[in-house]
Symmetry: C2
Subunit: 257 residues, 2 copies
C-alpha cells in the first residue's frame, strides 16, 4: 500500500492573496497535500487574537488535486481553529504560518499573527513552524528561501517536535545564506512607536511604526545576531511561559490579606 502523503495546514497574517503564502504553497507542493485557511485580508500584528464579538465565516476559493484553499473573515488563530474543526479530513502532520512579509524574530513573537498561527497549532499538539522573511514589501523575493522551507518542513514531518515546542524561523533579506543557526530570542524592545498626524477635520491620529532597540546586539546566540550576519535563524519557541526561576522568590512574599 502506498504511504499516505503528509497533510500540511497553512495560514498566515498577511491574507490569502499575499505573495508569501502563495510562495509557501509553491515551495511545499511536492511535500504533501496542502490545505490553506487564511484570512480574507491583512491581519498583520494580530498576535494570538481570537474573534469573540462577532461570528466567523469561511469559503472555498480554490480546489485542485492535493490543494484546497479557503479564506476566512477571522484572525489567523481563528483560521487554524476553524480549519481543524470544520475542514481537515484527518489530523495535519504539520501546521505552518507564513511566509510572513517581515521579521518575526526577537520580541516580535509577541505581536506576530504568523506566530499566532504556529502557537495555535502547537497548542493543538501538532508540530508547527513559522516562516518569515525580513522584508515587508508586497513583492519581496521569496525564491532563495524556498529550498530551506522545504528542508526544514520535511525534517519536522519526519522527526516531529517536542511537545509544547514550535519553531520560529526567520530568513535574512539576502539571496545567499551563510547557513542555519539555532538561536534564542533576542532581548530588546520597540521605541519611537507612533507617528502623530493631523486630521483634516481637526484632532490627531497616530500610526504605529517604531524602531527596534536590541539590548544585546553582540550576543552571537540570538536570532537578531544571526539574521544580521546572514544566517537563517531558527528560534525554538515554547507554549509554557511560566517564569520558573522566580517562583521561589515570590513564595517568600507575604501576599495574604
Amino acid at each position: 500500500m502506498e504511504k499516505k502523503k503528509p497533510l500540511i495546514l497553512l495560514s498566515n497574517d498577511d491574507g490569502v492573496s499575499a505573495k508569501g503564502i502563495n510562495e509557501l504553497i509553491r515551495g511545499l507542493r511536492e511535500v504533501g497535500d496542502i490545505i490553506v485557511m487564511a484570512p480574507d485580508g491583512p491581519r498583520s500584528g494580530a498576535s494570538g487574537a481570537i474573534t469573540s464579538e462577532h461570528p466567523v465565516r469561511f469559503c472555498k476559493v480554490h480546489e485542485e488535486e492535493g490543494l484546497m484553499i479557503y479564506k476566512c473573515n477571522g484572525t489567523p488563530v481563528d483560521c487554524i481553529k476553524l480549519a481543524l474543526h470544520a475542514i481537515v479530513p484527518r489530523r495535519p502532520d504539520v501546521v505552518i504560518g507564513g511566509i510572513n512579509h517581515g521579521d518575526n524574530s526577537a520580541v516580535n513573537v509577541h505581536y506576530s499573527g504568523t506566530m499566532g498561527v504556529v502557537i495555535e497549532g502547537c497548542l493543538k499538539g501538532i508540530p508547527s513552524i513559522g516562516y518569515s522573511l525580513c522584508n515587508h514589501f508586497a513583492d519581496a523575493d521569496f525564491s532563495p528561501l524556498l529550498p530551506y522551507v522545504r528542508r526544514i518542513t520535511e525534517e519536522v514531518i519526519e522527526n516531529g517536535l517536542p511537545v509544547g515546542v514550535c519553531l520560529n524561523v526567520n530568513f535574512p533579506n539576502t539571496s545567499v545564506y551563510k547557513g542555519v543557526r539555532i538561536c534564542r530570542q533576542t532581548n530588546g524592545t520597540w521605541d519611537k512607536e507612533w507617528k502623530c498626524c493631523q486630521h483634516p477635520r481637526g484632532g490627531e491620529y497616530y500610526w504605529l511604526t517604531g524602531e527596534f532597540v536590541n539590548f544585546e546586539s553582540d550576543a552571537e546566540d540570538t536570532d537578531h545576531w544571526a539574521l544580521k550576519h546572514g544566517y537563517v535563524a531558527i528560534t525554538p519557541t515554547q507554549i509554557d511561559v511560566t517564569a520558573y526561576g522566580v517562583m521561589n522568590e515570590l513564595k517568600s512574599w507575604d501576599l495574604n490579606v
Copy 2:
C-alpha cells in the same frame, strides 16, 4: 519633601466601560495616581495584537484629582503603547491589566488581551500585573478580590519584579479565598471550540466557544488546580519564550541545503 505618589497605568480588554476596570480603579484609588487608557469597547481575546492597518485615536473621558481616564479605538496593547508615548507625565511605577471578566489562567495567557497589556508593560521594562476573575458576567462581584489586588499591587510597587517577568493573577469565583499560591501555567487545550449556526439568508457561520481540557488536573502546583480549590493563583510569566531545553537537539539536525 513629601514622597511622590506612585503612578499606576491601567488598561483592559473588556473596554473602558466594563465593571472590572472601574472596580480596579476603586480598589487602587488610595494606592497612587491613576491613568487609564482603555479600549472604547470590548476587545476580549485580543492577545498581543497591535493595529497596523488603520490609524489609532484616543480622547479623554474623565478627569479628577489623581485620576485621568482616556479611551482609545485600538487594541489593549495599543493602549499601553500610546499612553506611554503620549499621555504619562513620568514613567509609571506599575502597569496593570484588568480586572478581566473571565479566567486567564493556563493557556488562556496566549489569547488574553488583559495579558497583552501586561506583557506590553513588561516589554517596556515596567513591573506589570494582570488581574482576572473566573466569572465572565458583566455584573460579576469584584469586591472580595479588591483587598488582594491592593496588597499585591503595593508589594510589586515596593519590591519591583525581575526583568522580563510579569504576574498573571487569577481569582476563583468565590467570596472567600483559602490563600494565595504561586503557580505554574497549567498544560491543557481548548476543545469543541465552534458552534455552527445557519444564516437566515443561507450559509453557515460560527461562534467561538469551547471547553478547556486540563491535561494535568491533579497537579497541585498549577494555576488551574489552585483556582479550582479556592486559592488566588499567581503565575509568574516571562517574555522570553525560547525553548532552551531543545536547542541542543535541534543543533544535531542537518538543516542546510
